[in-house]
Symmetry: C2
């Protein structure tokens, strides 16, 4: 998928510009690789409540009618009674303004001095308008997208389609993206020349990177489970997920510097 999110005042990365990416592929792949997304929205009445709020949610990017020209919508699911769903459904056909952050920690970099410590990471911040999906076909499509986004193959290996009661108690938010940017840090730690030339310091302080990734352990059957074998889609996904995550963290720290 070619193309990029346009640079605007809101999404232009100002510090460490060399780490910024705006292309669709990078932005979408980081959001889709993040098991948890953080969704922020404004207070309804700023006079009564001065605080924004953040909800951790699960979501995935896609285009329902394929007309997106590359810039996908973000679909999020949640309980119909949750605050953000009530806000978005409350006579706001244009949607409510939200900010969504996706962050993957890939490594901890220890330098000669705490000041130069940093992390390897992949992060996306996007802004957009969130509204509740009301078209049934789009909602079911989105629920499948989000379900398979977490563990691919899950939808077809479950009892589907959802019942009417299940459909009513789950809502799907579609975030139409107004601006987005990604920031990626790779490589090993860096240090100031003055510290690097100080033999007392370099002789006693170890510097390097601790690779970090999300591990998925051996699946544990539930107390009501009646299927002896862990299904192939789970076995495969777990294996790929762990191998890909570890490989990314190890390769990232070798890059750059």
């Amino acid at each position: 998928m070619e193309g990029s999110y346009p640079l605007q005042a809101r999404n232009t990365v100002r510090r460490h510009r060399e780490r910024a990416k705006y292309d669709f592929e990078t932005v979408h792949s980081i959001v889709n690789a993040s098991p948890i997304l953080h969704v922020s929205f404004l207070p309804t009445n700023r006079d009564d409540d001065p605080f924004p709020t953040i909800l951790p949610m699960i979501g995935y990017m896609g285009s329902f009618d394929g007309s997106s020209m590359g810039a996908l919508d973000l679909y999020l699911h949640g309980h119909s009674a949750s605050r953000v769903m009530r806000l978005a459904g409350n006579d706001r056909p244009e949607g409510i303004p939200v900010c969504v952050a996706a962050t993957l920690l890939d490594g901890i970099k220890l330098s000669l001095t705490p000041f130069n410590n940093s992390c390897n990471y992949r992060s996306v911040v996007l802004h957009g308008y969130a509204s509740i999906v009301t078209v049934e076909a789009e909602k079911e499509w989105a629920l499948r997208l989000i379900t398979d986004g977490l563990v691919p193959g899950c939808w077809d290996n479950s009892r589907v389609p959802p019942t009417r009661a299940e459909n009513l108690s789950t809502s799907v938010l579609r975030v139409h993206v107004a601006s987005a940017s990604a920031k990626i840090n790779q490589g090993g730690p860096s240090d100031d020349r003055k510290d690097l030339q100080d033999d007392e310091v370099t002789g006693r302080v170890w510097t390097g990177t601790l690779p970090v990734w999300e591990s998925v352990g051996t699946p544990v059957p539930s107390i009501t489970n009646k299927v002896a074998q862990v299904p192939e889609y789970v076995v495969q996904w777990r294996q790929n997920h762990n191998a890909d995550n570890e490989l990314y963290a190890r390769e990232a720290l070798e890059k750059g510097k």
Copy 2:
């Protein structure tokens, strides 16, 4: 540390109240176990920009003068030129309203139906007023707190104290917490009785939990490193971190139901 954050409209968990916790120990330990915190703040001028923004940051909870009576402040560090630092430093002695989210994913629970899939997690959402720390002693104390919060022992095993230039280019935010709540989900997947009684469904759909935790891999020395041995504080932390994370995820899925 005894005591709890008071229940207010803003922090009272309404859905799955049985998962809510308000005591200082639970809230602080989840924030401190989260390597990345998501910090949300409002647009300066809501007429020009309708969106809140989220920044991923690193932080730790503590009380500088010990007078907190149990409810700690949250300290966050960042570059002095970053947007949130400029906002907080801009003639706002009372601080700017922020929301901070800390989320740890502990497991993915697969049920008979996607509708009943869920996650094991520990999450905190807190609201408070963020202001820049201007007292030098408090700032250095906070930098050490945050540094050792990520990898304990790092401060004493590095070149410290920070130089004047390092001090100037790093800022520390102190968030005075106005309200906070934690939400914890543990146990295995649950299903509706109707699905559990359907032999066709239970005979083909595996249900169970995939434990999830953050792994830290073998430390990789930087190209300028001159210390042969990975220091004991790194070896120990990595070992404990991995063992504790895995144990938590495995024990969590056995709890409850």
